[in-house]
Amino acid sequence: MFCNTPKEISGMGHGMKRKEDARFIQGKGHYVDDIKLPGMLYMDIVRSPYAYAKIKKIDASRALAIPGVLAVITGRDLEKYNLHWMPTLMSDTQMVLPTDTVMYYSQEVCAIIATERYIAADGVAAVEVEYEPMKPIVDPHKSMDPNAPILRPDKGKTDNHIWHWEVGDRNATDRVMANADIVVKEQIYIPRIHVASIETCGCVASFDPVEGKLTMYMTTQAPHAIRTVVALVAGHVGLSEEKIRVVSPDIGGGFGGKVPVYPGYVIAIAASVLIGKPVKWIEDRMENLQADSFARDYHMSCELAANKDGRIQALRIKTLADHGYTDAAANPSKFPAGMFSIVTGSYDYNTAFTEMDAVYTNKAPGGVAYRCSFRVTEAVHAIERMVDVLAMKVGKDPAQLRMENFIKKDQFPYKSALGWEYDSGDYHAALKKAMDIIGYDALRREQAEKRQRGELMGIGISSFTEIVGAGPSRHFDILGIKMFDSCEIRVHPTGKAIARLGTKSQGQGHETTYAQIIAQELGIPAEHIQIEEGDTDTAPYGLGTYASRSTPTAGAAAAIAARKLRDKARKIAAYLLEVSEEDLEWDVNKFFVKGAPEKAKTIQEIVFASYTNHPLGMEAGFEATHYYDPPNLTFPFGSYICVVDIDKETGEIKIRRFVAVDDCGNIINPMIVEGQIHGGLTQGLAPAMFEELIYDEDGNMLNGSLMDYLVPTAVESPKWETDKTITPCPHHPIGAKGVGESPTVGAPPAIANAIVDALSHLGVTHIDIPITPQKVWNILREKGMVETV
């Protein structure tokens, strides 16, 4: 691992303890619900008990009679200011509050503003709403039926189709499929799930009527983009962009769920502007699960073609995407299905075609990138499951089949069948390492013996390729804003620094890792580099933190801004040492004269000189800014192996071991990288075995609380075993790739493959996640392995 600075400086490769922890471990974190402003009011929201209904009447009189209830805001009120609709990040439209129809269970119906949180809740209970329920569309497969209601006539639509997207060569793929020795097919569903960060969403909207300035404290992963969106949405009521300050305080987990703009934020802003006082809105967990953006929800028909030896020849996938009543995904605008076209995976073949249709249903809107850079989880699940299905079909060990199909190390940079340029990789090494750690061959022998005895044990592999770091400006924008990111560094006269970036940590440890990047480049101890993010009045513009983009974009910006400063330092050192710049060499934290190492100037001396004794004609001070536009995306990869034991009577599944070998390029802080991987693995376990948002046929969400939405505890979550290979990213200034999401992407197919493997001798080829004991039991019953009583 790359590490060439001493511990006092803690540049790259040091497992430096996190700087931000001091406040979190002492209860001094500053989250949005901790904010209390003078005169602050509280907002609470009345929500729809129906998935699809006309609003006949909203009677707020009983609520307004409660002392302390100041206002009840309805869609009709917002309509007067043309604030009842807002754009989504996908350029669709979404209601802030409905004027006549509710489109999904738990949709906002009206808002109560009160002097206290408890009174606002009483207000909610006292509002009486008369609905005329209608038959909702719950199953996306039925959304295009001729007799299905048209959900978005407001958009002039005549059906419920949102968009069609395709990539690849349809004809070539059809041809290869038609002539292949083997074509395996599966219907694979990736369920609707929720990020369920432990902190829900919320805000304090504080409008100062005197200054005409709005300060918006909110749980957002992308404060700058939010400022611009607010300016675009509310510009017509006088909120111009210089009068808007968005502050993202400490965030209690984001994972993609805190990228979108939710109606609650906008209503709180409207209320604060109208009333002239700060308004706090903190959603409940149930509101969070039921109404905030979901993730996944892809119905995929997958086909994989191969020759009789199992050499993959072509992939074809047709997907139906359920977006709820509006497309509120948060993808780059040219990529309605995100980076789904990474679906060809880690394998070498040149024919593929994938198409997708997105439809409206009466469900909560969304399609956020939940700890996965834009639909990569769906893609990886599809290919990694299909490769196992193929292995079963040709009767080869899934590890061997992967080894035979992997893109080889010397093929990089590699152009994938669907057009991506994979920059680097060594897939064989990662899988080999994982197999060695877990003792793959011995496990296969054990499995064979257990099968003899009728016991169920399975081994599952996933060898994924991720695609992160959006992204190069020629392709990537959100609402037109290019997906660069930024860093501004100021070094103070005594050699201590502050750096501000356009991203926003939600637990990833930016205050530490960015400091380490700058420490690496400048030799200033990371301990003395303060990192600030999340305040749009001070930080440079950036698109925020999601899709593992912080290190690839803002991290690169930090390195390059620091390098600009090092160039300046060289000039100052040359001046101070009275030599020419070419005679100087850099070493960790100083410039010295080649051949005369005792003639040196440390970074601290140089910085001091930049304020006190800088060369004539040079700008004083020591500051630099960089906006980084990545030349390509980065392609982290890894191989995971999971071992499960299944109770053959109850179908209960126990994960015995799970080994994860990740390659995220050069590592800034190994402790933090490992922590990110552990966390992502548990978030990959969750949909594999536990989590799914479930609707009944009337569109009611059946498990919209943490009682029934089964977030894994420390008991379900196994003891993760992690290791790594390091293949530096060739085009990133520090060779890093981004890591937080690989495990969320790679774990579900490893687990699903292990469970299917345990049952494969019974002829089972696929089970949709989450794979619950009941699902396993159903199969065992079908196969006559258990009797019903």
């Binding site: 809740a121 009483d122 149930m286 009577e649 479930i694 505890t713 379900e716 004991p773 009941q774 019953r781």
Partner: protein, 290 residues
């Protein structure tokens, strides 16, 4: 999620609490550990006008053997069961169950009395007490009465407690020598209410013949239920694997589960069968080693 406003009383004695119950009638609700009631109040599924908080009543949290019974005060907490040396030594069924209820912080508040008085077939203690053939002591304006556990659970969230009565004690007959018990619970994840669970308490004599047997089932019927036929099949019989299996199948057949997020009817019946079989076997093992 905020409860609707209510008035609050915190009586210091059982007598005071009963007087308050009499005064306020159906407007009032007893609060014990609060871990069933407060969640319901936060969701406004329960909106009592007056809360009578009995958790401050002193001396009602005992766990002791006396007069041939294990006596558990209504206010004894789940964590106290878990940490009691007496329970660990002699009441494995109770210990198994206590460890599987909710999570440690909930167990620090939740009371055994509340768990039973709630009358919820999803709770774990009802099946346990059915297996133990426990008695419930109810105290009211007319004094104390003893309710055999078989007469306590009347229906869906319905118990034999009168509106002005308080559950004050649970009595479990001290198991004779050669006794053992076990609780086997399947849950979707730790801390969850049971998908299904079986409580077994039995006594085996020197010849391997089953002398006492109690089997209770959790969350597979509207009211907590005893697996009567299974008990009858085992009682006074020499316990063979085959017989145990038959008894377990009966439990699966006799329960009456609802299909829900925890599983289908067939699945739950099958789980009941498996858990019952396993619980009986563990109980026998423990009885032998006791």
């Amino acid at each position: 999620m905020i409860p609707q406003a209510f008035d609050y009383e915190s009586p210091a004695t059982v007598g005071e609490a009963i007087a308050l119950l009499q005064r306020y009638g159906s407007d009032a609700k007893i609060l014990s550990g609060g871990h069933s009631l407060i969640p319901m109040m936060k969701l406004r599924l329960a909106t009592p006008e007056r809360i009578i908080d009995i958790s401050g009543i002193k001396g009602l949290d005992y766990i002791r053997e006396e007069d041939g019974f294990l006596k558990i005060g209504a206010l004894a907490k789940e964590s106290a069961l878990e940490e009691s040396a007496l329970i660990a030594r002699k009441y494995p069924l109770l210990l198994d169950a206590a460890k599987m209820i909710a999570d440690p912080s909930v167990r620090n508040r939740a009371t055994v009395g509340g768990n039973l008085a709630h009358g919820d077939a999803a709770n774990d203690h009802p099946a346990v007490m059915l297996a133990y053939r426990a008695e419930i002591i109810a105290t009211g304006p007319r004094g104390q009465r003893t309710i055999p556990i078989d007469e306590f659970f009347l229906g869906f969230f319905m118990t034999a407690l009168e509106p002005d009565e308080i559950l004050t004690e649970i009595r479990i007959p001290i198991p004779p020598a050669g006794s053992g018990g076990a609780y086997k619970k399947m849950e979707r994840k730790v801390g969850d209410y049971a998908t299904a669970a079986t409580a077994v308490q039995l006594t085996v004599d020197g010849n391997g013949v089953c002398r006492h047997i109690g089997i209770g089932l959790t969350n597979v019927s509207a009211a907590p239920m005893r697996a009567q036929r299974s008990e009858d099949a085992l009682r006074d019989q020499r316990l063979s694997d085959e017989l145990i299996k038959q008894a377990a199948v009966m439990a699966g057949q006799d329960c009456d589960p609802n299909p829900d997020l925890r599983g289908s009817i067939e699945y739950k019946r099958s789980v009941v069968k498996t858990l019952t079989e396993r619980a009986i076997k563990t109980a026998i093992e423990r009885a032998m080693n006791a």
